[in-house]
Symmetry: C2
Subunit: 252 residues, 2 copies
């Protein structure tokens, strides 16, 4: 671990810190979910070598989650509350994307983690330096992705039918995953604010201007308005997904 | 971690080393199973605080398993093979002791881990110093036991019916757990040899003499004979179980 960088946003308002804590909660929750899923993968993996590797990845996810929660504490947040706020986020996604084979299971994690990591990276762009450095480090872990790519490539090289079925599965997964992003932003206006703030901070050369913070749906009573996500958010997420699928030789 | 002690059994025969590797494999397997079970517990735990704590325990079990497997490698063994040899050991136990409540689940781990840890400690008594030190350290972890005791005590203090149901459940669990010990020794003669060797090494003042190595069942073709376990083994395991149950205020 590197030394924490000095805080360069000492004037972060209380509201900005609250938004940051909400993003940290999301990333911690996603790591916690990753732990649970990798542990289940380890239980189901066909070989002892895979069981060992997947259980180590599960253990690493616990470590990453706890580092994010430690930052929540530093910012004065409550780790259990901010984690608990996302408890039901992936319920629909999980029940609607039950994999029927080991390959579908691998691809599900690869697609879902890809989209959620990209979203969190985008939202992390405007938080304080220290939180951002931690988040980017945590989100940068590619070990599971590399394992999935290696296994799916090997399997696909021998089986054209599998490749076309997985391409179809990938399209369904990304649709569901983008749906989760939309739900998360609507239930957690802080996430929408972070994403929009990045849009506003971007240089004018950016082709797609940031959309002004006009809520399109009635905000919850008492909650701050959720700004509409910048128009380019979903385009950006989709483009990254397409790039990841082509790593596997799959058409997005 | 402390510095490894120098090897004091430099004359350990190849057969003794093979027996040690087999015990290391068992302990590694039990830690791997503990990881899987704690991860499932974390998923089912009623509060976020418990989810966090149980996932950390799961992660610690991965670490302990990997330290044991590193010792297997040092002794020239194959970690995947020696782990895989126990893959089906707990299948029967698991299917016959499906818990129906969170308390039954907690008590199941408490009883099963207690018996298996005691057995492994006994078998570890005659392996080389370095393996023994590692095993005793790995087996000494009481965090989950303490968590179970705290929760079961709190729950039992308010509910006499629960206490008597759990006492019954505990008796069933210990019977099944002792059955697993018997199966493990019959399928892995090395374990029986280690336990018997400890009996033979014990001072004569020990009330129960070590039973001579007379196989009572036909040994597998080509396998070394499995000595009958010393008569006091099951008495010892049962006594320790009784002590653990009384920590919970339950009659064994």
């Amino acid at each position: 671990m590197t030394e924490p960088a000095p805080e360069t946003h000492p004037q972060a308002t209380q509201a900005e810190t609250a938004d940051t804590v909400e993003l940290l909660g999301l990333v911690a929750h996603l790591q916690h979910v990753a732990f649970s899923r990798l542990a289940e993968d380890a239980r189901l993996a066909p070989t002892v070598a895979q069981q060992l590797e997947l259980s180590r990845l599960a253990s690493a996810a616990v470590d990453r989650r706890d580092r994010v929660l430690a930052r929540v504490v530093e910012l004065g947040g409550d780790p259990e509350l901010c984690l608990g706020a996302y408890a039901r986020l992936l319920e629909d996604f999980d029940s609607r994307t039950q994999p029927s084979t080991w390959w579908e299971r691998l691809l599900r994690s690869y697609v879902a983690d890809g989209v959620s990591d990209d979203f969190c990276r985008i939202a992390a762009a405007t938080v304080d330096d220290r939180s951002r450095a931690l988040l980017l480090e945590v989100l940068d872990d590619a070990e599971h992705a590399n394992l999935a790519v290696a296994e799916l490539e090997t399997a696909g090289a021998q089986d054209a039918v599998l490749v076309s079925r997985l391409a179809l599965w990938g399209r369904r997964l990304v649709g569901e995953a983008l749906g989760v992003v939309q739900q998360a932003m609507s239930a957690h206006p802080a996430l929408g604010r972070l994403v929009t703030r990045r849009g506003a901070d971007e240089p004018a050369s950016n082709a797609t201007p940031a959309v002004a913070a006009v809520p399109t749906q009635p905000a919850e009573a008492g909650a701050m308005a959720a700004p509409q996500p910048p128009a380019h958010l979903f385009g950006e997420l989709t483009a990254e997904h397409t790039r990841r699928m082509s790593r596997l030789g799959l058409t997005a």
